[in-house]
């Protein structure tokens, strides 16, 4: 096949600038950022808060206008689309719909007949472990269950890529670890390309094939690390801890760099 080794996602020279209040020049959050993702990869994006992870994800999702090129399966990304499913940190479930109606939503707006979409919704609701909660409204669910529903809603739409912005950040430790494991279970089955933003090093090395550390002003890739360990991984594995050390090193270096930058300004 012609495109066998072509990346599913290629971010090429992407620039995003926001107006900063009280300053003449716009602040460049992303500046000519380059990144390419192969189909089936599970990528974790790490970086200090405010470095532009969400901005990058929003560009790929089609929410954020940008300069430069982002190609997804060879087509330029200009607006949101169902082939790029988004899982939000704040769940973003429709509170006026039941779990089932939420999961069916994508199928409904894409014209899938009622019987078929009901079946498919049921399948994915079971997959995320929410069987029995079909008729519940999101307002009555715990954070972990809400995110399961959010995941099912996206999976039911059968996107070719999953974009997740700190999806488990608001959950307690135990729920988070459980959901990480279950997400991997689903990923092993479907091998969807994942772009997963997190601020947890442990989460990144547990989940990813490839960890990318971003540093701010403007966002640039400070480390691009392949994690070559079979799954499911032992969270206390020696090798995993070594990966963690390299990542925290890269994060700390950025801090130092940024700190020096600041001291130059204040001097």
């Amino acid at each position: 096949m012609l495109h066998e080794h072509a990346p599913i996602l290629s971010v090429d020279g992407v620039t995003v600038a926001f107006k900063s209040p009280g300053q003449a020049a716009d602040r460049h959050v992303l500046n000519r950022l380059k990144l390419s993702v192969e189909a089936g990869q599970f990528i974790c994006l790490l970086g200090p808060s405010g470095c532009g992870k969400t901005t990058l994800l929003n560009c790929v999702a089609g929410f954020q206008p940008y300069e430069g090129h982002i190609y997804f399966n060879g087509a330029k990304i200009e607006k949101p689309g169902k082939e790029r499913g988004v899982v939000f940190q704040e769940y973003a479930l429709f509170p006026w719909f039941t779990v089932e109606q939420n999961v069916e939503f994508g199928l409904r707006v894409n014209g899938v007949p009622a019987a078929e979409r009901k079946e498919q919704a049921r399948h994915y609701i079971r997959m995320v472990g929410l069987a029995g909660f079909e008729k519940h409204y999101p307002g009555k669910l715990s954070g972990g269950m809400k995110q399961r529903a959010g995941l099912a809603r996206v999976l039911a739409n059968e996107p070719s890529m999953l974009l997740m912005d700190e999806p488990f950040a608001a959950l307690d430790e135990q729920t988070r670890e459980k959901l990480q494991t279950e997400l991997l279970g689903i990923w092993e089955k479907q091998r969807k390309t994942c772009l997963f933003v997190t601020h947890s090093i442990q989460e990144a090395v547990y989940l990813a094939d490839r960890v990318i550390v971003l540093q701010p002003n403007p966002a640039h890739i400070a480390l691009d690390l392949r994690i070559d360990l079979p799954r499911l991984r032992n969270r206390h594995d020696e090798k995993l801890l070594q990966y963690q050390a390299r990542i925290s090193e890269a994060l700390r270096e950025g801090e130092r760099e940024y700190g020096e930058h600041l001291s130059v300004i204040t001097a």
């Binding site: 949101p80 973003a92 509170p95 006026w96 739409n157």
Partner: protein, 274 residues
Amino acid sequence: MENTFPSLPHKRVRPSLIRRFLPIQGKAWLRLLIRLSGLSLLLLAWGLITGLGYVAPAQLPSPVATLETMSHMLGDGSLVLHALSSLKRVFFGFGVAFAIALPLGLMLGSSRLLRDAINPVIELLRPIPPLAFISLAILWLGIDEWSKISIIIYGAFFPLLLNITGGISQVDPVHIRAAQSLGARKLHIFWYVTLRAAIPNMMIGIRSGMGMAFICLVGSELIAANEGLGFLIQEGRYMFKTDQVLVGMITIGIIGYLINLLLTTLEKILLRWK
């Protein structure tokens, strides 16, 4: 992947027969009693004041006399006629106000520019009580139905418009993004997201619009009408039939209560998810 999620909480307690037919739960019967006690106290005070002869019946008739007048007016059908003609005005006026406020609110709610352009007009008109427009309405429309109905339309319009606009404009952007990335197009987003997100605010608008419609109804009927509950009150005053004044007032109270009950029920159905 194994499914380790707990199943639904176990058995549900079956409600007793009485409770199934009366929507009473737990200590609700006590609450009902307490509510009725307030009403009884009011009636008792009314009965005492009139019964002890502190006030003349022309000032305030006794509860029994008022009830007699009421049942008499129910018997000859006059009360129903008056109530119906008032209700017709209220519902027609409210309906027209809603029919104008809905599309306008949808437009204003979705466009910041339109909101900014029209807000000053609204903010200037809003503090003027609708009843202050009665003179103009009579000058323009005469003293027939339309002057009264126009006041009702005007009164109900602003609460409706403001709340519909507010509801539409306050839709959570993350819900719109979620819908877009699931493949929803504009019309889907409007129907499944924007409109539903706006329903709580719309219900507030409907309640206060309805309240305003009643205020305007009575006010306009006091001035120029020959039927209706407001007219009943006004005629009662002219003819020193205080019992008729009270019957008119009580009927308005009861109708208002019933409409509120209806709206509360509607709200419970529409906002099950809250």
